[in-house]
Symmetry: C2
Subunit: 412 residues, 2 copies
Amino acid sequence: MKDVKQTCLLAKEHARAIALASEEDMNAMLRAAAAALRARAAYIIAENGKDMQALTRGPQFADRLMLDEKRIDGIAKGLEKLIELPCPVGEVLEKRTLYNGLLLQRVRVPLGVLGIIYEARPNVTADAIGLAIKSGNAIVLRGSKDAICSNVAVCTVIKDAIRGAGFDPEFIQLIEDTSREGASAFMRMNGIVDVLIPRGGASLIQNAVQNATVPVIETGTGNCHVYFEKSADPEKALPILLNAKTQRISVCNACESLLMDEQYAAAHLRETVLALQAAGVDIVACEKCRALLPSLPAAGEEDYYAEYLAMKISVKIVSGVDEAVAHINKYGTHHSDAIVTEDEAAAEKFLREVDSAAVYVNASTRFTDGFEFGLGAEMGISTQKLHARGPMGLRELTSYNYRIRGNGQVRG
Amino acid sequence: MKDVKQTCLLAKEHARAIALASEEDMNAMLRAAAAALRARAAYIIAENGKDMQALTRGPQFADRLMLDEKRIDGIAKGLEKLIELPCPVGEVLEKRTLYNGLLLQRVRVPLGVLGIIYEARPNVTADAIGLAIKSGNAIVLRGSKDAICSNVAVCTVIKDAIRGAGFDPEFIQLIEDTSREGASAFMRMNGIVDVLIPRGGASLIQNAVQNATVPVIETGTGNCHVYFEKSADPEKALPILLNAKTQRISVCNACESLLMDEQYAAAHLRETVLALQAAGVDIVACEKCRALLPSLPAAGEEDYYAEYLAMKISVKIVSGVDEAVAHINKYGTHHSDAIVTEDEAAAEKFLREVDSAAVYVNASTRFTDGFEFGLGAEMGISTQKLHARGPMGLRELTSYNYRIRGNGQVRG
């Protein structure tokens, strides 16, 4: 087994080749990889079976880990979709002539070596490799021990396919050392790995944030709000809330907290609560809500900070947009927050003042997603402000450099 | 003395106010600060005198630390220059209508709370505050113990001026605890400080990279190359080399290594060496150079990695552009590298393949600078690829968010 540093160095050694590859070659790699995944599905399923047999964790984990023909076809389709997306590398972002005649261009370039650390979801292996190819990046993957046979299989099939298509696939590297020490070493591969993107639960992400010396893009945590402003149209408000809360509860853009203007609450709190309860959502509520509906259980301070990822919501009455914005900026995770309103000034104020990656007027928070935003792909949703915010597609996996042409200029 | 966390929290509490300030208000703050620095120069100079007296380090440090009327006027002018620069906040970077009618805008917003950690240069205190104001960011400054009286004085004068102009200046915070533990605590203010920018020598920067959990922008290290390609015009080559090597030796964009095509060397090595020696530059050279000029001392592997920041250069003969590019990508620090050539294909290849923040054709590496690039200001030069690369101006101190307007859309 190669050690973690050797694995990362191997990716780095091959990073310039993929960075300089033509879009045509990138697409040929993606096409070959997709075809090979389908052609060798039986092998991948057999290797995945070994992981499934060894798995000691619950059915939720098994469902994420499991691969069958249909899922492998879905993964292959994901790679084929990338073929249609334009490669971001080489885009001229800026072009200026400086005072001294120097011609300056700012050009989009790959980040270099991406590091991905993730849980037992073998589809991420293929997705991340596809995004790396089309953004011109080398990639080092470190998946979970629970998925090691599946990951090795997926990676082998893709690398064999790329080799078969006439390219060197060594810009793709999988860390086979799935120990905790291996993960720690990976997070400290400064100067070799250019960015570390953790994909998974809160503990994985916090481990990366706390221990990595490689620059990290934090992803994933979402304590999202829907705010019914006093002019909200109930015909829009309720469907938006139910969609944001219940359409998929385990995801980071699901709603965890409902804020309601006091005037709106006076007229509509009861129907809102009944609709949530009818949908199976448990409610905890502020004292003002409980004054109107005493049967509601009380919300504690910790509820306003909570990312439930469950059929549960906190409900709080606020005096107006200012209090709603202040609450969201204080308790939220700066992910996705929505206002429902018919008042243009309230909408503008909310859009401007809420400090979140995605801020919505009259739409569900569930739209925060690379595919929904038209990026065509997604490496995760950044919850930090540095480098990328919100859904990360191909563009967010690039950097830029300055290219300057002169005719002998020196600095005075 | 407030502790580090309290100080950072205070900045964060006031971050939304400066983020939402109008450009007019930002300019009023800058104007007031510049005027106050001049008006209270005597107080600042007196406080600076205390630092100067306590200083036990050498004359190089004293020169950086010293403030007089002229320097304070220069600092004030720097703030006034920012008034002319457009505020980047609010710029609409993208505007699209999605398949479902959602109107999506991507809008530039401040990063939030900047953390700056720096050495005994009190001018950085004012420069960084000015950049924070005009980019809508709160700022926490942690200067060196050697400059604490100067930093407190500069900060006090600026904050008093902002208060006097009718604004709350508490988005500006200076950490008065200059202990090592204070610095470590500052670097771990995750969730409070949005980015940490270390400005100073290699050990300061490495300390931040190794210990920070706050996202860091690495700055400063530059092992820069000038490459004389075989078609290089000697009339351009020599002035570019001398400028890059000798115009200012202590800076990150100074040249540390000369690469020379073997054909060019056969004709021009001797005159190049003589010119470098006449300028007072010590040379270490590769074996091929020493075959032509045996009196040159030999360069070791470590020389090719070295950032001398001194009147010293390594010289190496290469077989062509490919070897030059490979050498630069291996030994360099991806900062600034130049080719001198009259061959368009060689220039194109070099621009495309050298993996550095700034790549030059027929110009000195010394131009890598926020002012030279027309950014109007500079917070440092990033040597990482994440978020910002090369000189960082106001734009590089921003992030963006998505603002989405709908009329009741929910996700299917």
